[in-house]
Symmetry: C2
Amino acid sequence: MFVKVDFVGGEGMRVTQPRTVKRQARGRQRIADILDAALALFAENGYERTSTNAIAARAGMSPGSLYQFFPNKEAIADALSTHLVEQMRDAHSSAFDLARVTDLTLHELIDRMVDPLIAFNATHPGAKALLANTDMPAGAQGAARPLHEAVVDRVAAIIQARVPTLPATERDLAAMVSVRIVAAMMPPIVAAEGAERRALTAELKKALYGYLAPLDPDGS
Amino acid sequence: MFVKVDFVGGEGMRVTQPRTVKRQARGRQRIADILDAALALFAENGYERTSTNAIAARAGMSPGSLYQFFPNKEAIADALSTHLVEQMRDAHSSAFDLARVTDLTLHELIDRMVDPLIAFNATHPGAKALLANTDMPAGAQGAARPLHEAVVDRVAAIIQARVPTLPATERDLAAMVSVRIVAAMMPPIVAAEGAERRALTAELKKALYGYLAPLDPDGS
DNA sequence: GACGAACACGAGTGATCGCTCGTATTGTGC
DNA sequence: GCACAATACGAGCGATCACTCGTGTTCGTC
């Protein structure tokens, strides 16, 4: 499931291990196992309450083996969040890039942006929860910041395309609020299934429409 | 600042100390000191990363003294969240109870409900953050659940008063979404000051109005 | 002023945790 | 098949933490 990650440490890291290690297929698989185990355990019990020995055990290896792939516990969290953020960014770009936004009605535009996001978050439960979790180390949380900023920027760009006359300040504000509304509704949507999820999704879209319609030329 | 709390333990508690202790004025003050110190440290470093010895030190006492007032670390978190929830509930009721809601315009209604909430959260920074924090023990988080449900219920009641024809399902959904929108905007509003806070507050109200107006008789 | 309860202290205890290290096995390049 | 890197193991080290306990001090009450 996971693949990359060769720890070539950040700034303040004391690297006991060699800078770069030529991973064999076996090693890459082990890294994936560690990240899978860590994701599950972090989501279950939180970062602090999860011991590295427990991660190693869940990944089917000894503590010593785990530390052949990661220099410390924090590096596991960082690698995990980096990986999650990458996947989320991919999902986001597929949601944002397509189509000339000016040709769509506001309803259509909202559909095109919201639906893929919900699909991604639904298939990756725990991803958002982990990145938003305050007990994760600073590095793991910080990894999500650029993503959030990028998302807000893109929404702002779309708003500008549709309403070029809107002052920059108001436009950025509207983008931020829109993103926050989506984020606020995501947990219950992901937790729900079937008809309930559809109902919640429809409600989210109503909220977005109600907020954005007064700004939009399409808003009747 | 804080006062009550005599630990007469919940269900599964092993109480080494006597069930009830007659607190002297000195003791009540010490309890307040402990809760103040814990609130600050939990907000700074999170629950897990805060040691009981550190709480005692910040409160100006020895670890032994701390444990004369609380049976364990979790009890401190519980007492803290219970206290916070009580204060928030008071602030909420003053926001909800007054005035016959049917006599107000939707704009006025939103003002009357949102402004006191913002005022409370602004003067109690960290309160909401603590209660929403996932690394707090289950008991401390659970304490906020009844409050949230009560708030949603009250909003639902207000919606029903204004739009009696709305089906119960839709009404409850609208209440939940409204509360989530408010909660989502609260952190940046609390973090901001002056003009910025006012701008964010206005934006929150716009979002609420846009979402609720289609349901409301006043909405046009 | 005496007596018990509440309050206060802080060194210490047992358990846990992140991480190491010495050693043994497996894979790769030649 | 040899040499070396990569992988693997798990007992255990040092540090930290929640909490205890023995002892001493202050308060309320009569």
